[in-house]
Each structure stands twice: as C-alpha cells, then as structure tokens.
C-alpha cells in the first residue's frame, strides 16, 4: 500500500516541477529544488517500505479439496474417555487447522482413521492402513529416532510419499507427530505450508497428551490379536 502512495507522490513532484516552468536541474540552489528533493526522498522511502511489507506478507495459497472417501474408524476396544478425547482432537484439528485426514498408529495397530482417506483400489471403501508396513518404513523410523515432529510442507517434493498410501493422493502437507516412542499420528492438510508454527506447537502438545492417555489405557488392556 505505501508503494502506491510513494509512487503517486513521486510522479506528482515531477509533474509539479514540470508545469511550473522550472528547468529540470537537480541542484540544491533554490529552495524549490531543496523542497523537491526532500519530498522525493520521502516518496522513495515509502516505496521501499512498501516493498519490505510485500516481502513480509505471506502469499495466499488456495486449498486443494482432497480426493477420497470420508471415513471415521476408531478401534473399537478403546474405553469411552479415550474415544471422546480422540474425537475432541479431531474436532479441534479440523476446525482450527487445515487438517483433513488423521491417522493414529499406536503399538503396531491402527487406532484411528478419520477424515478423508484414499479410496482402496476399486471399491468405494477407505484404504486400510497397514500399520506394520508403516512402522517399518523410513518415515516412521526417522521420526522415532529424532523424537520430534516432522513437517512436510509440500508433500509432492518428498519421496517418502509412497509410504503413506492411505492419504488422499492430492494431500498437500503432512505432519508426522510421534506419540512417545510407541506410536505416530499422521495429519494430512489441504494447503501447501498450511500448518503454521503455532499449529505445529499445539499439535506437539496434543501429541504428548494423546500419548499419555493411550499409554495408560493400552497398558491396562489384554493383548489383542492382530488381524
């Protein structure tokens, strides 16, 4: 915005000088020239400030509607309180961030698959998550080793994309949040760089909370046979 102000006043000063019939010589001899120079300096400052503002302003990117099937699958043996906590997490994430798909894998089982999921081959069913394969893949191992959140702001640039076949094919951004050292939460977003830094910190805190909750209930459950 200051660019327009600065540019317009620049032209106005030159125009003014032209129509008052003064020779276009840029010297500081007459007070008119001095006033002109000062005004020109101010106009240039405004233009440069406008350029700095442009560099700060984030580019607006349009979200991409994820292609897939809506699903809401939660592991059935979980107690009521854990299920409501998971539903709260999904409700918050989908309302506040650009997250459109959420998959939680814990203790080698897929606990949650909510949101839009990729269609599985020819049927109209959501793509089942192969927890064992995910846990052996490089993405999970990397996140487990570092213990920190991994944010892939533009998924098309990452080769690890092939390890997440259950996400819609046009998912734009992915956050991998480790849940302690026993699980991982995969969040798929519909905008490139759609998760802001404050979103990332909130997600890491929510991940810790989920890990604490799940750890408490998973340890007190009898071991379940894997299908």
């Amino acid at each position: 915005m200051p660019i327009y102000v600065g540019g317009a006043s620049l032209l106005a000063v030159l125009f003014n000088r032209a129509i008052s019939g003064i020779a276009p010589v840029a010297d500081a001899s007459s007070s008119q020239s001095r006033a002109d120079l000062l005004t020109l300096g101010l106009a240039v400052t405004n233009v440069l400030t406008g350029l700095v503002w442009l560099s700060i302003r984030p580019k607006s990117i349009t979200p991409v509607e994820p292609q897939g099937v809506e699903c809401q699958e939660i592991y059935s043996h979980l107690p009521e309180s854990v299920v409501s906590e998971i539903l709260w997490v999904w409700e918050s994430l989908s309302a506040v961030t650009c997250c459109k798909s959420l998959v939680i894998v814990y203790d080698c089982q897929c606990i949650v698959q909510i949101g839009v999921a990729a269609k599985s081959l020819n049927i109209d069913e959501p793509f089942a998550v192969d927890a064992a394969k995910l846990m052996q893949g490089s993405l999970y191992q990397g996140v487990l080793k570092s213990g920190a959140q991994s944010y892939m702001a533009n998924l098309s640039l990452y080769p690890g994309r092939s390890e997440l076949p259950f996400l819609p094919s046009n998912t734009q951004a992915v956050i991998l949040q480790p849940l302690g050292d026993r699980g991982i939460a995969v969040l798929g977003g519909d905008t490139i760089r759609g998760f802001t830094t404050s979103d990332q910190t909130w997600i890491s805190y929510i991940g810790e909370k989920l890990d604490a909750t799940l750890a408490k209930y998973m340890s007190s459950m009898p071991s379940v046979v894997q299908e």
Binding site: P2, V5, G6, S9, A12, V13, N16, R17, I19, S20, I22, S30, S31, Q32, R34, A35, D36, L38, T39, G41, L42, A43, T45, N46, L48, T49, L51, V52, W53, S55, I56, R57, P58, E80, S81, S84, E85, W88, E91, S92, A95, V96, T196, T197, S198, D199, Q200, T201, W202, Y205, K209
Partner: protein, 280 residues
C-alpha cells in the same frame, strides 16, 4: 568500491560488505525465537529481511524517523528560503509534509500486517506471584484435564495468568496479584467471591479486550495486564444453535502484551475450552 578485510572474512560467517552509499539494502538472516519462555525447546525461525546491517537498530521504525527528519528539514527550508515563495514550492511542501506524516504512521500500520512478528515480548507483571491452585472436590480425570489445559495455555499463548471456572470448580495458574491479607487457604474463596461479583459466569459470548479497558473485573487481574480474553465453555457442540443449553463456565486469560491473541490463538483456545465440556 567495497572494503573487505580478510580478517572479517575469516571471523564472520556473515560477510558484511561496507559500501560508501548509506542506503544499501542487503538481505540478512535474522533469527526470531518463538514466544516460549523458560522452555527447553525453542523454535528458531530464520526470516529473510532487508536490513541496513546496523546491530541494535530496529528497521521497522525507520520510516518514522525519516518522516520526522525530512519533515523538519522541509519546514526549515520554508522558513529560511527566499522572500518570494512560489505556489509551486508551496504545493511541493504540502505534498512533502503529508508524505512525512504518512511515513510517521507507517510503523504503527505495519503492526497489523498478516506476517508481522510481535514487536514486544511478554513482560512479567510486577509484584505478582506465581500460583497454582485448584478446587478440592474435582475428580482425578478432571484434575488432569484442568492441569493440562492451564499448562498448555500458559506455554503456547502469550498468557501470563489463567483462571478456569467449570462446573463450579476453580483452577488458577500463573502470575496473580494476591492482596496481603489472603493466606494460602483463603485464596480460592477470595477468587470465588470476586468472580461472583463480576457476573462472568453467565457469559455466553467470547470477550476479547486487546487493550486495557475499563471493565469491572479488572481489579482481580494482576497489575500490568494489557489484554484479556474470556472464553465461555459451551455445552452444545453445535455452534449454529441459537440458544445454548447450559453454560458450564469460562476461561479467563490475561496477558501483559497488547493484542496478545490473534485469530489462530483464539480458535485454539476455543478448542481447548471444548475439551473441558462434560460428556452428556
């Protein structure tokens, strides 16, 4: 002509080119650490900004100083100028003065930009002590939920003090000014009586005071509070219902920064308040 000494090349990872032209923009990596104080994980972001390279100078205020400087030079020029002041000169000076005024207000407008970083950091309120109290008769699950909610709000937002009232139970954490006569046991009662006076328990909409305002409940907040957010805990998960069944309570968040809570922060605070809904 560039002056480059070999010593600076070896010692400085950031090579600074000194040129005789005073106004030369060059990109410089400035690190901004996010607002998590006393935390082990500090997130460092590198932002590419155009700066003059002078350490300790905040460039965002530069248009203001240039505006003052050039504006005063213009006035000086007008007063010391030749006897006959032509109309053209008057026009130029008018334009110059209005540009100077505009430049002076530019830094203020720049704060409202979408990508602008917060200019002032959180300062702790003076004379306040850090407390963490909770009502006695809450279930273990509720205790955990309250503790986590207050912890996350204090860590993740610009909050210095938080008060949660839900289902008649209080949880207070952060920096608060307690009057001298209140002992540790009476803290909860003191807060409860003050809150009843303010009538915040019947609040239905979110209240946000980004700057110091003259509200009645200001006396229980710590000194140095600049912005306040009150978020009611709504029972109904469906926001399109016009009448809410029961309001379960509210969250009161106070910060020592002005404009402390942006859109995203408020959305997350709403999400956290939904966590404390009772499951009916």
């Amino acid at each position: 002509m560039t002056i480059l000494t070999t010593k600076t090349q070896l010692l400085n990872p950031l090579i600074q080119l000194k040129t005789p032209l005073p106004l030369k923009f060059r990109p410089k990596m400035a690190s901004i650490s996010a607002r998590l104080d006393n935390s082990q994980q500090q997130m460092n972001l590198s932002v590419l900004r155009f700066t003059l390279g002078i350490p300790g100078l905040d460039e965002s205020y530069l248009p203001r100083w240039i505006g003052y400087g050039f504006g005063s030079l213009l006035i000086l020029n007008h007063l010391l100028g030749s006897d006959s002041v032509s109309a053209a000169q008057l026009r130029t000076e008018a334009l110059g003065l209005s540009l100077a005024a505009f430049s002076i207000t530019l830094p203020y407008l720049g704060k409202f930009l979408k990508g602008a970083a917060p200019l002032d950091q959180t300062t702790l309120p003076e004379g306040a002590e850090q407390i963490f109290v909770m009502s006695e008769n809450v279930s273990v699950a509720q205790k955990e939920a309250l503790a986590w909610a207050t912890y996350v709000l204090l860590r993740n937002t610009n909050t210095t003090s938080v008060l949660i009232l839900t289902q008649g139970e209080l949880c207070i954490r952060g920096y608060w000014n307690l009057p001298d006569g209140v002992s540790k046991d009476n803290v909860l009662d003191w807060f409860k009586s003050n809150i009843e006076e303010t009538g915040l328990s019947d609040l239905r909409d979110t209240l946000y005071f980004p700057q110091t305002a003259d509200a009645e409940f200001w006396n229980i907040l710590p000194q140095g509070t600049r912005s306040v957010l009150v978020q009611p805990v709504l029972l109904s998960p469906n926001p399109s219902m016009n009448y809410m069944g029961n309001i379960e309570g509210f969250f009161l968040l106070a910060s020592s920064m002005r404009y402390a809570y942006n859109e995203k922060d408020r959305a997350w605070i709403r999400a956290v308040s939904n966590k404390l809904r009772s499951k009916n």
